[in-house]
């Protein structure tokens, strides 16, 4: 378990740097397994407290159980929950049938943009991991976004030792990625080690399927699996050669590179 404690120590350090340097800090929370670990690590870093708001960009298409879980945990752990939504796009009828990249851009990327504009956050903590997808493999722990939320991946700042980019010009913000070095297996190993509560959509509840990755209902598909405990998930992941986000439609083709360049998580 030493490797998990090493990952934890690094993530906690990143959290504390973020809290020290950003007056207006928020953390994206999607209720998925990575968000679950992210929230737990925040409580580790701040000794049981979460001293910044949790932001949820609600596309309105989330699996209903996710929203119930969100509201219940926010109540029980007394979290400062801020929900954002691109109401205009929804009023105009945006949905995945108009194109998955278009829908993600409108409801998630632009939904986040609107929330950032409204609240003026200068630092956003996100649970992206380098092993999820190849453009995320090239991220920094502290990754600047310009005033249009764009990611200039051609010219990322140097990141030396534990010295991160914590100063930035007005109207830009920094994305902070404490989970960058974690793998999907590490997430589950840590959930097991710390006995962290998580959504049971990740487990087979009798029909021989479970979700490996959670997102919007129309674009996220369960996998065939009989894993009904964390141990069984870990065992399954060690044996599998199927990519984690195979059930996420927006990843097809060059979808992610284009989405992320424009400010997608």
């Amino acid at each position: 378990m030493r490797h998990l404690r090493q990952l934890e120590d690094q993530s906690v350090y990143i959290f504390r740097e973020a809290y020290k340097h950003f007056d207006n800090l928020g953390m994206l929370w999607s209720m998925g397994k990575d968000s679950t670990v992210l929230l737990w690590l925040a409580r580790k870093a701040f000794f049981g407290h979460v001293p910044f708001p949790l932001l949820h960009v609600d596309t309105s298409y989330k699996i209903p159980a996710m929203i119930e879980y969100r509201d219940r945990l926010a109540r029980e752990w007394r979290l400062n929950l801020v929900v954002g939504q691109n109401k205009q796009a929804l009023a105009e009828g945006m949905n995945h049938e108009r194109g998955r990249v278009e829908c993600c851009t409108a409801l998630k990327t632009n939904g986040l943009k609107l929330l950032l504009e409204e609240k003026g956050y200068t630092g956003i903590i996100l649970g992206v991991r380098a092993d999820e997808e190849s453009t995320r493999a090239k991220e920094r722990y502290f990754s600047p976004r310009d005033k249009n939320n764009d990611w200039d991946f051609r010219d990322q700042p140097p990141e030396l030792w534990d010295q991160f980019k914590t100063s930035f010009p007005p109207n830009t913000h920094i994305r902070i990625h404490p989970l960058l070095d974690w793998t999907e297996i590490n997430i589950w190993e840590y959930i097991k080690l710390e006995n962290i509560p998580f959504m049971d959509l990740y487990l087979d509840r009798g029909d021989g399927t479970r979700y490996r990755s959670l997102g919007c209902a129309p674009c996220t598909f369960p996998i065939k699996s009989t894993a009904s405990t964390v141990d069984e998930i870990i065992e399954e992941l060690r044996a599998t050669k199927v990519a984690e986000r195979a059930g996420r439609a927006q990843d097809e083709g060059r979808g992610m590179e284009l989405l992320r360049k424009d400010g997608y998580m």
Partner: protein
């Protein structure tokens, strides 16, 4: 593991983890090696090779293993890695993050970002091209970045007919180069990433190679850190007061920390005893911690300490100075200039600095050559030997003794623009006084009343207001005015005129003993400040330049806050950067109020007395 679908070693339980970087000149085959390693060990996701093959076919070009990790369209189109990629690989019970660093000179900052995260490196050299400038530059940077474990891979052996002779020449040349950096490669491996020779399986073409394959060599890197065995270095990251606990946090850089330890904070020289180690969801709470851990501690008393201080045991203290010599690599868009203001960040300490001297530019091609020419600037991607001077004393170590507290970055404008390792402490003018202050502070005996208690009681923190400037500008008059105004408010203030020490404490001194007079004055001031008083003083009697006077006094009363006020008759610029400046003031009442306002802004005096003033003793 009955349900395991594969028999690869990937399924073995993880014992430890390690970050490895692949470096070397552009086109020497780093991304190809990485792709091959994954493909030959069966650690790629299903369909990944097929997906890339399809893209290649569509674009009408030959499949390359490098495309597996060069994610950006531009990278694939240009066939060059732009930015560092983290890739994940598990083998023989160890989880690796293998960092593919770009070799192109233009992306050196990305290579450095990758290598700075690594504990070990694979350094590639193209057998056909041999040792290039960039191969040496990368070797030099690895040693500066603290990557001590290096295995050299001589790649593209297929292009030189697997010639043992060619390999031996390259090995000899590069070993000689690394020896100058005190680096001994663990292995030098002949390989062909494109054809898979000596990557995951031994090459039948090179039976003469008796060493390991690249895959086997990974297991030979040690992930055991020796840092826990070193003396304690715990850079303070932040102080939290979310609930009843006042928790000091940070990551232990080296050594061990236990409940009950007497610890010293540098450069403030404060000391306290560790009362608890705080943790979330760990029962029972830990009683000790060691290098690498992010921890929180509480102390037996509430002392004012700030982010940036280095916690250690008294038996092994960090160095403290305003000046040090360092080897530095520069990555900024603008060249590094002398006498321009930068920020130095060392562990968690951040302080303004300037480059006092650029001794030489280090040429990777010829390390031993000592060019004596002086350089005005350090250009992007150059390595230089420099002297750096900070505005306030900094606690640090030599890089040869401590890794984390012996290195730093320089920030230009908004960007981290360079990094360096400290090679030498340079004693500054205050060195003697600083040592005296440290020794005196460690031995200082106090009662049960703390400075924080006194601050609460008096409605202000203990501090020193220094009035500087030419004679007859009204300094003494202003000092009296500030004193009486504050006393009228009920504050605990005292005007100490240095002249008062002359006939008494300094009676044995001659006129020329200015440094000794300052030392005695500083010690008296330190004593009074310890009583919680707000001290006001002029400085002309010392007969020394103002900057020297202020620095010496600052050193002796450190870490008490010092407010400097410059007074002149004409608009002559202040010899020091004063907190406040007045030119020929006539209205001393408003001037005195300006001083009061500054004291409030600095958090030295509280707005009101009696209403339980809250002092920011945490940060």
């Amino acid at each position: 593991m009955a349900t395991c679908k594969t028999e690869t070693e990937a399924a073995v339980d993880v014992r430890d983890r390690m970050n490895i970087v692949i470096v070397g000149s552009v086109d020497h085959g780093k991304s190809t090696l990485l792709g091959r390693l994954y493909a030959d060990t069966g650690t790629l996701p299903e369909g990944k090779v097929e997906k890339i093959q399809a893209i290649c076919k569509q674009q009408g070009k030959e499949f390359e293993y490098a495309f597996l990790f060069d994610a950006f369209l531009e990278e694939q189109q240009q066939g060059v890695t732009i930015d560092t990629a983290r890739t994940f690989f598990q083998w023989a019970g160890r989880q690796y993050i293998i960092i593919d660093a770009p070799g192109h000179k233009e992306f050196l900052k990305n290579m450095i970002s990758g290598a700075a995260r690594a504990e070990a490196a694979l350094l590639l050299i193209d057998a056909l091209e041999g040792v290039k400038d960039q191969s040496k530059r990368h070797g030099l940077l690895l040693s500066m970045l603290g990557v001590k474990q290096v295995t050299v891979v001589v790649n593209k052996m297929d292009l030189v007919d697997y010639s043992q002779e060619t390999f031996a020449l390259i090995e000899k040349e590069y070993r000689a180069f690394l020896a100058q950096l005190d680096v001994t490669p663990q292995f030098v491996i002949p390989a062909s990433a494109k054809r898979g020779d000596n990557i995951a399986t031994p090459s039948p073409q090179m039976a003469w190679h008796t060493g390991p394959t690249v895959l086997e060599s990974l297991a030979q890197f040690s992930s055991e850190s020796e840092q826990a065995e070193q003396p304690l270095r715990f850079p303070l990251q932040d102080v939290y007061k979310f609930d009843a606990r006042r928790i000091l946090t940070g990551r232990i850089a080296s050594g061990r920390l236990k409940v009950g330890d007497q610890v010293i904070f540098s450069p403030s020289n404060k000391s306290a005893v560790v009362q608890t180690l705080e943790a979330f969801n760990i029962e029972p709470p830990p009683t000790q911690a060691q290098a690498g851990q992010s921890v929180g501690i509480t102390l037996d008393e509430q002392i004012f300490v700030e982010r940036g201080e280095i916690v250690s045991h008294e038996s092994s203290l960090p160095l403290v100075s305003t000046t040090f010599r360092a080897n530095l690599f520069w990555l900024g868009r603008r060249p590094l200039e002398m006498d321009k203001s930068y920020l130095v960040r060392l562990a968690t300490h951040e302080v303004e600095c300037r480059v006092a001297e650029i001794h030489r530019i280090v040429d990777a091609d010829n390390l031993s050559l000592d060019q004596q020419q002086t350089n005005a600037v350090v250009k992007r991607n150059e390595v230089a030997d420099v002297t750096i001077q900070t505005r306030a004393p900094l606690a640090f170590d030599l890089y040869s003794d401590f890794e984390t507290t012996g290195r730093f970055v320089l920030v230009d404008d908004y960007d981290v623009s360079g990094g360096g390792i400290i090679t030498e402490m340079v004693a500054d003018r205050e060195e003697t006084l600083r040592i005296e202050a440290r020794q005196r502070d460690f031995a200082w005996v106090t009662g049960d009343v703390t400075l924080a208690d006194r601050a609460k009681h008096y409605g202000h923190r203990a501090a020193l207001v220094l009035l500087i400037g030419p004679d007859t500008t009204g300094k003494t008059f202003l000092a009296k005015k500030v004193e009486s105004t504050l006393v009228a408010e009920g504050r605990h203030v005292y005007m100490l005129d240095p002249e008062n020490l002359r006939r008494g404490l300094d009676a044995d001194l001659q006129e020329g003993d200015a440094r000794e007079m300052i030392r005695r004055y500083g010690e008296v001031a330190r004593l009074l400040i310890d009583t919680g008083v707000l001290l006001i003083s002029t400085t002309n009697s010392f007969n020394l330049p103002a900057d020297q006077t202020v620095e010496a006094i600052r050193t002796l009363v450190h870490p008490a806050p010092v407010l400097t006020v410059y007074m002149s008759q004409e608009t002559t610029p202040s010899p020091i950067e004063a907190d406040l400046s007045f030119t020929g003031p006539e209205d001393f009442t408003s001037t005195a109020h300006a001083v009061l306002t500054a004291l409030k802004e600095k958090g030295i005096i509280a707005e009101t007395i009696g209403n339980q003033p809250v002092f920011q003793f945490s940060i």
